[in-house]
């Protein structure tokens, strides 16, 4: 084996094998074996990914064609994997964070019965497989297989406890919302094939190929791709599935809805960055949708009481930031934030899972409080995660968020101001969450208090690792204005994005401006954190809310709005078609024909009287008729 890049196919293949073993053997394998297989395959994938990453870091990117996948006429789509800087980063995030979550799951899901346990790990492995296919595909079609695969797996995992109706409905919602986005993605794909006859990234993203497109076509295609991304990455208008997706087991929320799947949209756009850079209107739309989603979701998160719901809306909001970065042309900042977000959001979700585990399934944080006394490791790691997401200087979230805000400032100061408000809201709701859960006094039942305990090592060790990553993860992207040339992520990703940089308007804010922006946001964030900490650790937010707070608690009534505007009319149309069109008109025609025939034959039946005389009479009449026609009427 000369080069690890020759065996990259093992990276997705191993989780697939793990999925097959766990899925088929779920009845006979013991829980321990399932856990070892499920986590082990991901660990091996991670090690290969790490190895591949160092190869890429040394400058070897690689595209391997394994076999022709679709050959129709002139359209040739090979089954090919592409390992370059962008996919290498995603590989590390998926397999690395994925592995930790698998380990965590072995403890978290331990109370499930054996068959369910195997099924859970099979789904989890299948999910990782799909996600790896998505990022490794060297053309849109392979990417689309993974794209659909993660949609399917999220459906399976959200509805893992499908015996509860609302969970099954949440799974349906996620799947349908995703399908809407997928349709747009597919249309964009067909337009691309129609125009250039290839789906391979390296063939499409060259200036000579892209020169074939008119600006209008580029804008249409990129907008459609973006709609696809809004479905997967939970942006306005297709974001409502993600908060509902919290129905799944908590590690699933961490894996799918925080660390990996929702970043598929970001990955896809980052992959197509050249095309998006050539369509400035699309970038404007993305920036606006991004900031709108960030603010909307952050405002909803302010008033949620379910610990996972807060984190879910926070995820939507952070994804909004990533899209804001893309819309501002700051692709590196988006990728950077994907990475840091994967660390701290996985940490927060897993931490909340640890809390829920200790509380015996309780998710309402009004019934928690004072947990820091009982769960030391969870408390500290969760606090570090909150500090990271809030953007306290020195933690990973600070660097990535600051880079996004700087990018937004370069595009428009208004975007910066809105982004800053969103960041302050983030700091506020995260510390509302933290203080309500871990500070103050315990507000649950006595039985729950008795039951409180720190989680086992399989849960705390992933938390500790993620906490370390959340703290130090930002140092690979120290901004230019602090230390010259220290943004190693930007240097690493330079080959992916350098063509785009040439297209985008140069907007280097002066270093003093950037210092000032970072200073303002840091001071404000620290202020908000201190305020929220004080406010909620003493007197948690328990009373009924009114006015705007109620609107926020009810998520701006967006679900109700969708229900009224889209779901109900469609249901009404459906029941109209069912009751009136189908039953009356379609059935009417079919039954009418039948009834006509049977009525007609019942009438004709009287002709067959059995009276010979009547038969002869008719014969005679017929003959007379023929004679009359023959002799008198025919010319």
């Amino acid at each position: 084996m000369k080069n690890v890049l020759d065996i990259v196919y093992l990276i997705p293949l191993l989780p697939l094998i793990g999925c097959l073993i766990n899925g088929l053997g779920r009845k006979s394998l013991s829980k321990g074996a399932v856990g070892v297989i499920g986590s082990g395959v991901i660990l091996v994938s991670f090690l290969i990914s790490l190895w591949a990453f160092f190869q890429v870091h040394a400058g070897n990117t690689h595209t391997t064609e394994y076999f022709p996948f679709i050959n129709v006429g002139n359209l040739k789509i090979p089954f090919a994997f592409r390992i370059d800087q962008l996919s290498a980063i995603w590989l590390l995030i998926i397999t690395g964070v994925g592995f930790l979550i698998h380990v965590y799951s072995t403890a978290y899901m331990h109370d499930e019965e054996s068959g369910q346990y195997g099924k859970y790990f099979a789904y989890l492995n299948l999910f990782v497989f799909s996600m790896l296919l998505l990022v490794m595909g060297a053309n849109f079609v392979i990417m689309f297989i993974g794209w659909e695969g993660v949609g399917l797996c999220s459906y399976l995992l959200i509805g893992f406890w499908f015996k509860r109706d609302e969970y099954a409905r949440a799974a349906n919602k996620a799947f349908i919302m995703n399908r809407i986005g997928d349709l747009a993605f597919l249309i964009a794909l067909f337009m691309l094939i129609n125009k250039v006859g290839t789906t391979t990234f390296s063939d499409i993203f060259t200036s000579s190929t892209l020169a074939k497109f008119s600006t209008k076509e580029l804008t249409t295609i990129t907008l459609l791709l973006f709609v696809g991304a809004t479905g997967k990455s939970a942006q306005i208008p297709l974001y409502t599935w993600l908060p509902d997706a919290m129905a799944g087991p908590t590690p699933v929320s961490a894996l799918i809805h925080a660390a990996t799947m929702v970043t598929a949209g970001i990955y896809m756009i980052a992959r197509c960055n050249l095309m998006f850079s050539m369509a400035p209107q699309t970038l404007n739309v993305i920036a606006i949708i991004g900031i709108a989603t960030a603010l909307l979701a952050a405002s909803i998160a302010l008033k949620q009481n379910d610990i996972k719901k807060v984190l879910a809306y926070s995820t939507v909001s952070q994804l909004g930031y990533m899209f804001l970065a893309i819309g501002s042309g700051a692709y590196v900042a988006a990728v950077f934030h994907v990475m840091t977000h994967a660390f701290f959001k996985a940490l927060l979700f897993l931490g909340s899972g640890s809390v829920i585990h200790a509380m015996g399934g309780e998710q309402d944080m009004r019934k928690m409080g004072g947990l820091s006394k009982y769960m030391k490791i969870t408390n500290i790691t969760f606090l570090l995660g909150c500090l990271a997401i809030a953007g306290i200087p020195g933690f990973s979230g600070f660097f990535s968020k600051d880079e996004i805000l700087a990018g937004a400032f370069a595009k428009s100061p208004l975007l910066y101001a809105l982004g800053l408000i969103g960041a302050l809201m983030t700091a506020f709701y995260m510390f509302r969450l933290y203080a309500t859960t871990f500070k103050g006094s315990f507000r649950g039942t006595h039985e729950q208090e008795h039951h409180l305990h720190e989680s086992p090592a399989a849960i705390t060790i992933p938390l500790i690792i993620l906490a370390i990553l959340s703290v130090v993860g930002g140092f690979i992207g120290i901004p230019e204005f602090m230390v010259q040339g220290a943004h190693s992520l930007a240097n690493f990703l330079d080959p992916v994005f350098k063509d785009s940089y040439a297209l985008l308007p140069a907007h280097e804010a002066s270093h003093s401006t950037e210092w000032m922006l970072a200073g303002i946001s840091s001071v404000l964030v620290i202020g908000v954190v201190a305020f929220a900490w004080n406010k909620f650790s003493k007197k948690p937010d328990l009373q009924e809310t009114t006015g705007l707070g109620k609107v926020l608690e009810n998520k701006w009534y967006v679900d109700e709005l969708y229900d009224t505007v889209i779901v109900k009319p469609i249901n009404a149309l459906g029941s109209f078609l069912n009751n009136v069109f189908d039953k009356k008109i379609v059935d009417g025609i079919v039954n009418g024909v039948g009834r006509l025939v049977s009525y007609g034959s019942r009438q004709l039946r009287w002709l067959q009287s059995g009276q010979t005389g009547a038969y002869i009479l008719m014969m005679v009449l017929g003959m007379v008729l023929i004679f009359v026609v023959q002799f008198f009427l025919r010319k």
Partner: protein, 108 residues
């Protein structure tokens, strides 16, 4: 004698036959009426044949096909009558009636 007279006579006989078949219920009378119709046709055939013959010239051998036909019809009619009468006899033995309205079993 003009051909019209023959035609009129044959028409009358045929009509009597038809009406008889339609109105009478007695199988034998129905049979007789059928014979009447057959003979009306025979009469016409002979008459037309003779007319043809004269038109072609009295010495000609051709133009007698119609008369030949009549013999065939008479033979067939005789055969038919014998079969028919046999049926009627069998029917009388079975149902003790020769009313044709008894013969409506095919309906069921």
């Amino acid at each position: 004698m003009p051909i019209n007279y023959y035609i009129t006579l044959a028409l009358c006989l045929f009509s009597i036959g038809v009406v008889g078949v339609l109105t009478r219920r007695n199988a034998i009378i129905v049979f007789m009426c059928i014979e009447l119709m057959l003979n009306a046709v025979n009469l016409l055939l002979v008459a037309f044949s003779k007319m043809h013959h004269i038109a072609k010239g009295a010495t000609a051998v051709t133009g007698t096909d119609g008369q030949l036909f009549v013999f065939f019809i008479m033979v067939v009619a005789a055969a038919e009558v014998s079969v028919g009468l046999a049926i009627i006899v069998m029917m009388y033995r079975n149902v003790h009636s020769i009313n044709i309205n008894f013969l409506n079993r095919l309906k069921h």
